[in-house]
Each structure stands twice: as structure tokens, then as C-alpha cells.
């Protein structure tokens, strides 16, 4: 049992942390200190997980062949995505930088073990996707912990997940949640890169309906 009251100053800083957390695609190539990375990875163990199932599975992608397979996968999926747009939208899409895979010093592939026995299935009977959602909460904490150290994370989802699962030789019961580029960002901002590039704008407020 631990009681604790957080201060107004902490809440202000935490709000700033959320505002400065960005999806980063432009990285410096400087290495990331392993001790800092390890400290940030501890955030995974503090995440909520359905039934305490801790279904996150992490692969650090370091070898040249594994990185090349992931990059090829992205390039193919991105070319397919581009082919799905036309006119101005296609031109705009073609100009976007959607992954930092060629510069980021650290690459992580994060999976969900849908077949884990841990947690004895609690909370995942009617909504088995809760295991995957647990992994996403862990990634979110990790992302904030990285930003608190000045590090950036980029979430690559323009990938064929089944192909990556095969290429990285992980169990077939593992589902890819995301491929992550990690390193020192070239710049910091409180505005999403897609908004700065004119792709989309955020809504001015959160809508809440009542029942």
C-alpha cells in the first residue's frame, strides 16, 4: 500500500510530456545508451495487462538481414498504400516520410502472445483482443518514458504483419502489434508531423455523447 499525492507542478510537467510525445520518423544516428534504454523498457513491466497476462513479447532487431527484411516489408506495403491514392492526395502521400527505419539506431518488433496461459484467461473470454490492448498500453508507457529521457519513438504499421512474423521467425501464435524505430529525434515539436505536412488536422475538441 502506498499513498501519494502528485503536485500541481508534476501534473503540468506530465501534460507537457504528453504534448511533446510525438511519432518520430527523423532520427539522428547517434547510439542510445543501453542503461537509458533498459530503464525505459522497465515501463513495460508497469503496464496494466488483462488478468495479469503480461502478453507482450519483444524482439530487438539488430542483424543486417533481419533489418533488411523489415525495411523491404515496409517499402512494399508503402508502395501498395501509395497506389491506393490518386491525384493530389497521392502526391502528398509520396512526399511523406513514414518511417525512420534507415536511420534509427534501435529497432524493436513488439508482439502479443495470444496463446499465453498467464492470467488463466481472466478478462479475455468475451474480448480476447484485450491481450493485444494490454501490449498497446505497455508501448504507450514506454513511449512516454522514452520522451522523458529526450528519446523518440516511431510506430511503423505500414507492414505486412504475417510476413514480418515469418521473417523474424517468431511463434505463429504471436501477433505483431508494431515495429518501432527508436533513437534521438532530429527535432522536437508539440505538433504531429502529419499535421505539419498538411495531411490531416486534429479536431478542435473531444466529443462526448451521453446515454
Amino acid at each position: 500500500m502506498r499513498d501519494h499525492t502528485f503536485s500541481d507542478d508534476f501534473r503540468t510537467q506530465f501534460d507537457l510530456l504528453m504534448r511533446l510525445r510525438r511519432d518520430v520518423r527523423r532520427f539522428r544516428t547517434d547510439p542510445v545508451d543501453e542503461a537509458v534504454l533498459a530503464r525505459c523498457l522497465d515501463a513495460f513491466r508497469l503496464a496494466p495487462s488483462v488478468g495479469l497476462s503480461e502478453p507482450w513479447r519483444l524482439i530487438r532487431v539488430t542483424s543486417a538481414p533481419a533489418r533488411a527484411a523489415a525495411l523491404d516489408n515496409f517499402l512494399a506495403a508503402n508502395a501498395d498504400a501509395l497506389a491506393g491514392y490518386s491525384g493530389d492526395r497521392a502526391q502528398q502521400y509520396g512526399r511523406l516520410k513514414l518511417s525512420g527505419m534507415q536511420d534509427a539506431p534501435v529497432h524493436l518488433a513488439v508482439f502479443c502472445d495470444d496463446a499465453t496461459d498467464q492470467g488463466h484467461g481472466l478478462g479475455a473470454a468475451t474480448m480476447p483482443e484485450m491481450r493485444r490492448y494490454s501490449v498497446v498500453t505497455a508501448i504507450t508507457l514506454f513511449w512516454l518514458a522514452l520522451r522523458a529521457e529526450g528519446l523518440g519513438l516511431g510506430w511503423v504499421s505500414i507492414l505486412d504483419p504475417d510476413r514480418l512474423t515469418r521473417d523474424l521467425d517468431v511463434p505463429a501464435t504471436w501477433r505483431l502489434i508494431g515495429y518501432f524505430c527508436l533513437g534521438w529525434p532530429e527535432e522536437t515539436s508539440d505538433t504531429p508531423e502529419l499535421e505539419r505536412a498538411g495531411w490531416e488536422t486534429r479536431r478542435p475538441q473531444l466529443a462526448i455523447e451521453t446515454r
Copy 2:
């Protein structure tokens, strides 16, 4: 553009915030100040979302019939879940308190609009589940913001999501991500309730494989 370096003290406090964030099922019935709740809900707008799609959709469940429908839904799903266990495990499951729906002053049902045009599909072609994951990142930020105010959140996933979608009369393209109980926790802790109840223990460390 905004540069900012977070302090060691902030990082220590942020680590504590993650450690004290719990899935809360035991609430005091005191009301939650609307201004505090609104401040915490702002966290949704700071979440990452694939293609800037902002696919989160929130329903505040306040009416007696809507709350009764959600509670009935939970009770039925929980009875089904209990029937799936046997022996000691069933006894243990039966003793767990798995939702604070009868006490929590604020109830929110959070959905993902899988059909939104916002974001023009960017990043969601090969992994359309990224929209749902975006909603989960927003919930995670909201959860931390609540805890920074001393408030607790409980994520109820023992529900038939399709039934709740119908009962709350939301569009069929909205997928339930979770039903949330929110209020002042009866107690605070740095240990998950399921671990304290002996249901499951967390692994001693995070395993990372390399490829």
C-alpha cells in the same frame, strides 16, 4: 517547435505514477468534480492516432436504464466466465471483485470508429487494428492523468461487446474498446489487485530476444 528537457525529479515522479496506476474495482461513491474530469479527458486529444484519425468515440453512461444494461451484461459474462473454471480456480474466481460498476460515480464506454474517414486511411491498410490501438493509447494517457489527480480507473472487459453496442444505441461501425468505471479509489497500492488476491504473479523481468 518546442524543446524541453525533463528533470531527474520529474522522471522519478513519473515512474511513481506508473507504479501507482492500478486497475481499480473498489470505489468510494463521492462524486468527481466535473472540471477535474474534463482536464483528464483532455489527455485523449494528446494521444497518438494512426494517420491522425482520432478514432476514439466516448459515451458517458449516466441513465439508470443504460447503467442497468451494462451491469446486466457484465453479470452475465462474468457468470459465463466463472462456469469456465473448475475446482480451486473457480472458487478463487468467484471471490474476485472484477468491476466497480455498482459504486463508481462515472461510467464511460469507449469505442473505436472503424469507419472514420479522418486520416484518409494512412497507416491502417495492412493493420486496420491500428485504429483500435490508437484508442487504447488514448485510454492509457487518460488513465495516468486520472491517477495524477488521485482518481482511479477500472477497465471492464468481461462484457459482450456487441450487446453493449446495441444497448447503448451507437453506430454499428463502432467497436467497443472498453467500459470504464471511474472515481475515487478506496485504497491506493503499487501492487495489482489480482496479484494481492493470489490469481497470478508478474514475471520477475522483461524478456527480450534478438534477431
